[in-house]
Amino acid sequence: MKRETAKQILIHLALISAAIICVYPLSRIFTVSIRPGDRVISTDLALIPDGATFLSYMKLLKETYFLRWLFNSLVITVTTSMIGVSLASTAAYAFSRFNFFGKKSAMIMLLSTQMIPAGMLILPLFLMIMKMNLMNTYLGMIIAYSVSSLPFSIWILKGYYDTIPKSLEEAAMVDGTGYVGAFWRVILPLSAPALSIAFLFNFTSAWNEYLVARVVLFSSKQYTWTLGLFELQGQFITQWGMFAAGSMLVTIPVLLVFLYSSKWLVSGLTLGSVKG
C-alpha cells in the first residue's frame, strides 16, 4: 500500500516537472504577445504584464496576410496528411502481408532515406518541383511534404499491421470479403491508433516545415505561416509582439488535432480477438 503511494507520488512528480518544462516557454511567449508595444523586450516575469493588450493580435490580423498564411498552411497540411496516410496505409499493408521481389531491400531503402539530412534534399526537390512547373503552388508543396513523411509512416504502420493476426482477414474473407474488403473493414478499423499516429506525424511535420517552403514559395500571399512569421523579422526591427501573437495562434490547430485524435490513440484494441 505504502509502496503504491510512493510510486504514485514519483510518477506525478516526474509528469508535473515535464509539464512545467513544456508549458513554461509557451507561457513566456503568451506574456510577450500581450505586452503593450513599447515594452515587448522587458525582463518582467509576470504572466499577465501591466497594461496587457491584444493589440499585437489585432495588428497581426489586420496588417499582415496572417489569416491567409494560416489558411495556406491548413490546406497544405491537411491534404498532405490525408494523402500521406492513405498511401502509407496501403503500402504498409502490402509490405506486411504479401511476399514480393525486393520487399526487404525496399523496406531498408525507405528507412535509409530518413537518414539523409533534410538540407541535402532541398536542391533536388527544388529542381523537381521547378521542372514540374509547380513552383509557388499548393500542389508542389503537397507533393514534397507527402513523400517526405511517407517512409516513416510506412514503417509505423507495417509494424502495427504485423501485430494483427492474419486469421482475422482470413475470417473476413471466408465471411465474404475480398482482400480489399478485409483491409477496409477489419485491418483499417483495428489500426486506428497507428493511423492516428501517422496522421499526427504527417500533420506536425508539414505544419512546422520551413526549409522546403522557403524554396518553393516566393509570393507573400502563398506563404505558409512559418514563412509569414519569419517575414515579420524585419531587417532592422523585429515585431516581437506580433511574432509572439502569431506563434500563439498557430498552436491552436495542432492542439485541436491532437485533442481530437487522442480518442483514437487508445491501444489494446486487438485484445480478445484470438485465443483466451
Binding site: 482475422l168 486487438t270 480478445g272 485465443k275
Partner: protein, 365 residues
Amino acid sequence: MASVTFKKIVKKYNDNLILDGVDLEIRDHEFVVIVGPSGCGKTTMLRLLAGLEEITSGDIEIDGLKVNDLPPAKREIAMVFQDYALYPHMTVKENMSFALKLRHFPKDEIEKRVKESASILQLEKLLNRMPKQLSGGQRQRVAIGRAIVRKPKVFLFDEPLSNLDAKLREEMRVEIARLYQKLNSTIVYVTHDQVEAMTLAGRVVVMNKGHIQQSGTPLDVYRKPQNVFVAGFIGSPTMNFLRGKIEKQEDFFYFSNQSVKIFLPLFSFPEVEKYSGKDVILGIRPDDIILDDKKIDHAHKISGNVEVIELLGHRENIYIKVGDQKILAVGEAFSNFSPGSLVEFSFNYKNIHIFDATTEKRINS
C-alpha cells in the same frame, strides 16, 4: 448441405511436400473428423478447402463443382478458426451478422438468424459485449455462432476446443454434437483429441505425413486399424506392439519372440497359415489384456513381472515385463498388484492385430 471431394490433392510450400496426393470423398451431411499428429497437414486440408491457400495440383469439388479458383467468399463455407479470430472492434452481434450484411440480407432476416443462433448457443445476454469482454468458452461459442448464422454448405472446424479446459471442452463437445443434429449440414472437423474424434465423427480420417492412412467409422479405425500408424495413433493408452515371428507347433500357430510365446487361435488370424515363419508385428490394446483369473486362458497364459503401477482413479495402468518384452495392461483399480510381483495374463484373442513387419500393413481380417 453439400458433398466435398478432394482429388489427388498435392500441396507444396516451396519445396516442402505437405499433402501428397490426398483423395477424400465427403458425402452430404457427413461429419468427418480429421485426426493426425501435429504438422501432418490437417489445417492445410481445411485451408485448401476454404480457399485460403492455393492448391499445387489436384482438384477440390463442392457439390460436384470444381472450386480450385473460387475465392473464399464464393465458396459458401464457414470456418471456425483454431484461434477463433473474432473481429475485436465489433460486438458479438456485429461479429455474427458481418457475413450476412456483406451479402445484403434484409435487416429483419439478419436479426432473426442472429437471435436464433444466439439462443442455440446461449449467447443472448452477450450480444452487445466486445470480444475482449468474453471468457474463452464464450468466445468459442461466438466463433461457432458466427459460422452457423450463415447456414453454409460446409462447416470447417479447426481444433475449436483445443484452447478450452477439460470440463468446458466436454460441454462444448456435446454442444457440437447437438448442433450437428440440428443443422443438417456437412462438417469437416480437425482435432488432436481422440475422444472428440471417436464421439463426434461419422467418419474418422487418420492422416500422417501428407497421406490419408485410413478413413472409416470410429469403430472401424479402432477395431480394424489398417496399419501400425493408425493402430498406434488411435486409442489411449497406446497399443502394445510386439515384434516376432509366426511359428507352427503341432498344428497350432504361435506368435513368438525371445521373450514371449503367444497362442494364436485360428479365428483371431484366419490367414495365419500363409505367414508361417514370417516376421510380423502383433498389436494388442492394453484393455485387451486379460488379468482376471476367472477369464484368463489358463492353457496359454503368460507370466511376467509387474514393473510399475499408475493409478488413474477407477482403473490402473500396469506395466508388465516378460523377459525383455514390455507390455502395458489396464486393470481395475486396486487390483492388489505390487511392483515386482508375479502377474499372469492372456490376450483377448478377438482383438489381436497382426501387421506385416516390413510394410506395417494389417494382415489379419
